[in-house]
Each structure stands twice: as structure tokens, then as C-alpha cells.
């Protein structure tokens, strides 16, 4: 049995990059899907709205762990070949993020006073123009801080991707521990990596909140 060395540290650093990559996939994919779901959630079409509500409820009411299992093993059961770990983890985290981002953004869009819609409507703007020129710019300002806040959640939740065999930061820690069995040292370093990724995001979120709350601009 060896001890924790720079090779191990390097191994963790590379895994941390995978954590960041997985976060990026989940955030971008989840952002796009979540925006569509948020729009569906406030659409005038009752069916569309219903589908969005059910989708959000299911995602928010299911543990991410189960979601990942379902995608990784469930798909194989239906008859497909096994899914690559990156794909399963990416899809799982994307779906998970979309459910939460949709609800955050829906709230921000609806927090823009109804009178703003009305004023835009009375100036003969189309529904699309009202949305893009009047409502979304205001909603965006409110959404920035909670969105970055949720980004921190995604970073931490990528650790669950280890259950489908994806080697990100947490899984890399486990692998090293299996060979040198120094759990305290290893997981302190792992935790340090997570903190190094999340803390700047938290700071950024808080400064955004301060900046954007000062005025409506």
C-alpha cells in the first residue's frame, strides 16, 4: 500500500475537470430544456401547461439517484445496449436540472407584474415581443442569482454520477481509496476540490444578488 502522492492528486484534478464538464452539460442542457418547460408552464395552452406541471412534479419528486438508475439500467432492460456512463449521467443530470430551472424561471417570469404585460399589450406589441423585450429582460435580472445558486447544487450533485460508474471527482476519490485506503486524507482533498469549484460560484451569486437588488435595472 502506498500513500497519497502527487500522482493521486493529479488523478483527482483530472476527475475534477470531468465534474466541471458534467456540470456544464447538465447546466446547458438543463437550461435549454428548462427554459422550454418554463415557457410551456405559463403558456395559454392548457394541455401544454398540464404536461409541464406533471413533468416538473415528477422530476422534483424523484431522487436524482433513482433518475440516474432508471436511465442507466432501465434503458438496458427495455432492450437497448448498455448506455455509456457519460451519456447516462449527462442525460440524468440534464433532466434533473431542467425540472428545477424551469420552476425557478417560471417564478421569475411570473414575478414581473401583470401590469407590465398589460402596458406592453396596449402598445400593440405581439406576444413574442412582449415576452422578449419587456418581460424576459426583467425576469432575467431576478433569475440570475438563484440560477447561479442552483449551479452550485448541480456541481455537488454530479457526485451521484459515480453510481453509474462515471469517474468524476467523488468516484475518483473512491478508486484511490480502494487502493491506498487513506479515506480521511483522500476525501479531505476531494472536498477541497468541490469547495474550490463551488465557493467562487456562491460568491458570484451573492454579489449578483446585491448588485441586481439595488435597482430594477
Amino acid at each position: 500500500m502506498g500513500t497519497f502522492s502527487s500522482t493521486h492528486f493529479l488523478f483527482l484534478a483530472v476527475a475534477a475537470l470531468w465534474t466541471v464538464a458534467l456540470t456544464a452539460i447538465a447546466f446547458i442542457g438543463g437550461g435549454l430544456a428548462g427554459f422550454a418547460v418554463a415557457l410551456a408552464r405559463i403558456s395559454g395552452n392548457r394541455i401544454l401547461r398540464g404536461i409541464a406541471i406533471v413533468y416538473i412534479q415528477i422530476i422534483q419528486g424523484t431522487p436524482l439517484l433513482i433518475l440516474l438508475f432508471l436511465i442507466y439500467f432501465g434503458v438496458a432492460v427495455i432492450g437497448f445496449k448498455t448506455v455509456p456512463a457519460l451519456l447516462a449521467a449527462g442525460v440524468g443530470l440534464t433532466v434533473y436540472s431542467s425540472g428545477f430551472l424551469a420552476e425557478i424561471w417560471r417564478g421569475c417570469i411570473q414575478a414581473v407584474p401583470k401590469t407590465q404585460w398589460e402596458a406592453a399589450e396596449c402598445l400593440a406589441l405581439t406576444r413574442w415581443q412582449r415576452m422578449t423585450r419587456v418581460i424576459l429582460p426583467q425576469a432575467l435580472r431576478m433569475a440570475t442569482a438563484p440560477t447561479v445558486g442552483f449551479l452550485v447544487q448541480i456541481v455537488k450533485n454530479t457526485s451521484l454520477a459515480s453510481v453509474v460508474g462515471f469517474v468524476e471527482l467523488a468516484q475518483a476519490g473512491k478508486l484511490i481509496n480502494n487502493s491506498i485506503f487513506e479515506p480521511f486524507t483522500i476525501f479531505i482533498v476531494v472536498a477541497g476540490f468541490y469547495f474550490a469549484i463551488c465557493y467562487p460560484l456562491s460568491l458570484w451569486s451573492r454579489s449578483l444578488e446585491r448588485k441586481l437588488n439595488v435597482s430594477h435595472r
Binding site: 401590469t115 407590465q116 402596458a119 402598445l123 400593440a124 406589441l125 415581443q129 423585450r133 426583467q138 435597482s215
Partner: protein, 261 residues
Amino acid sequence: MSATANLAPMAPGTDEATVTPLVRLANVQKSFGAVKVLDGVSFEVERGEVAVIIGQSGSGKSTALRCIDALEKFEQGTIHVCGHAVHDKDLDRRALRRDVGIVFQSYNLFPHLTVEQNIMLAPTCVKSMRKAEARELARTALARVGLADKATQYPEQLSGGQQQRVAIARSLAMMPKVMLFDEVTSALDPQLTAEVLKVMEGLARDGMTMILVTHEMGFARKVASKIIYMYRGKVWESGPASMLDQPQTKELSMFVGTGLK
């Protein structure tokens, strides 16, 4: 100021001159649940007229005004505005709103845009006007409400009275044929009220067709070519401003008696 002429309402004799009156409500009925807010409201407003709707809170004034701009649905009756049949299921709302400007009690400026951008938004979006041209238009409209120096400020940097004047300028920039004012001074102190009323008086003088809901009785006497007194969802009494001095009904007589003269 020659550019101001661009903002003047369309002169009589152009396209819709044949369709008089400009605004006509006939037997409009509307309920909120069991409460009948509009109980057969009928009135007409001719081009160039300034119609002032007065009445107690809850008498249906604002609802009537909002019905004219299709902001509220109504169950029965017909409303014609500048040739648009507002009661029609196939009403082209955007076409209606190009002809009708409305100003609200709460200003409803867009807080993320500067004063000038607030005014430029609709002309560029709806009329595909070029930015430079729209900016020119915005400056003209701002000059008309006495705020030429505030173009690049944000709404929150302005007083309530200034914000309301910007809202009027924003509406004016679309060159509406009718302007609706829904208790536009109710949130303002007397001094700010005065500056907003001055702007509205100027519009009236320039021949803009206006329908306004207000509690400013002095202003009503001064500018109204027609007063519409509403009581319990009905037009109780209507006529020239002088009718305030000789009320025909005891309800109006009590209303003007207790109100500010």
C-alpha cells in the same frame, strides 16, 4: 416647434371621418361573478371631444374604460372604436391598440429601459421604425410633456409626476386616434398632479380625442366637452361640463356636493 405637429391627432376629413362618432358604446354589460359592474352602459365620443367619466369608486368607470381597449371582456352590448368592433370575437387587438393609447394610474413604465427606450420600443417593434427616427420621435414626444432633458434617465430616477408624463409621451409616440386616461393622477400629490394635468390640458387643446376617468372635478369642469356620470354600473347623467352646476339627479347632486369643486 414644427416636429410637434407630427404628434397631432389625425385631422378630421381623413379616412375615418365618415365613421362618427369615434367611440361608441351601446348597452355594454359586464359582471364580475354576481356583481354587475356595467349594467347597460351607452355613450358616444366624437372626434376631438374630451369625455370625462366621473362617479364613486366601484361605479364601473375604470371597467368601462378598460372595455374600450379590450382589456376586459364584456358579456353583452357593442363597442366601436375607430372602426374596430371591440365586441367581435375576431377583433384584431393589435390593430385596435395602434389606434388607442392608454395611460394607467400606476404609470407602468418599463423599469429596465431608459425613458427614451421606453418611448422608442413600440414604434420600432410595431411600426418597424428605424432607431434614429424613433429616437427623434421620442425626443419630440418628451419635449411635448416637458421632459426633454430626461431622455437617458431610468424611470426610477424620476418623480411620479414625471413618470406619468413619460407614460403619456410613450402613448403619444404611437400617434393614437383616441387616448384613454385611467385615474392617471390618483397616485400623485397635488403639485405633481398639476404638472400632469397641464400636459393633458395641452393635448385637449391640440384636439386630441380623450376619454378620462378622474376624480379631479376642477379639471373636469375645465377641459371636458362631455361629462359622463356613472352610478352603479349605469350612465346616470351625461352632458356638457355645465351639468355639474345643475345636477338633474339627486345622486349627482350629492356626488358633486361632497366632492371637491
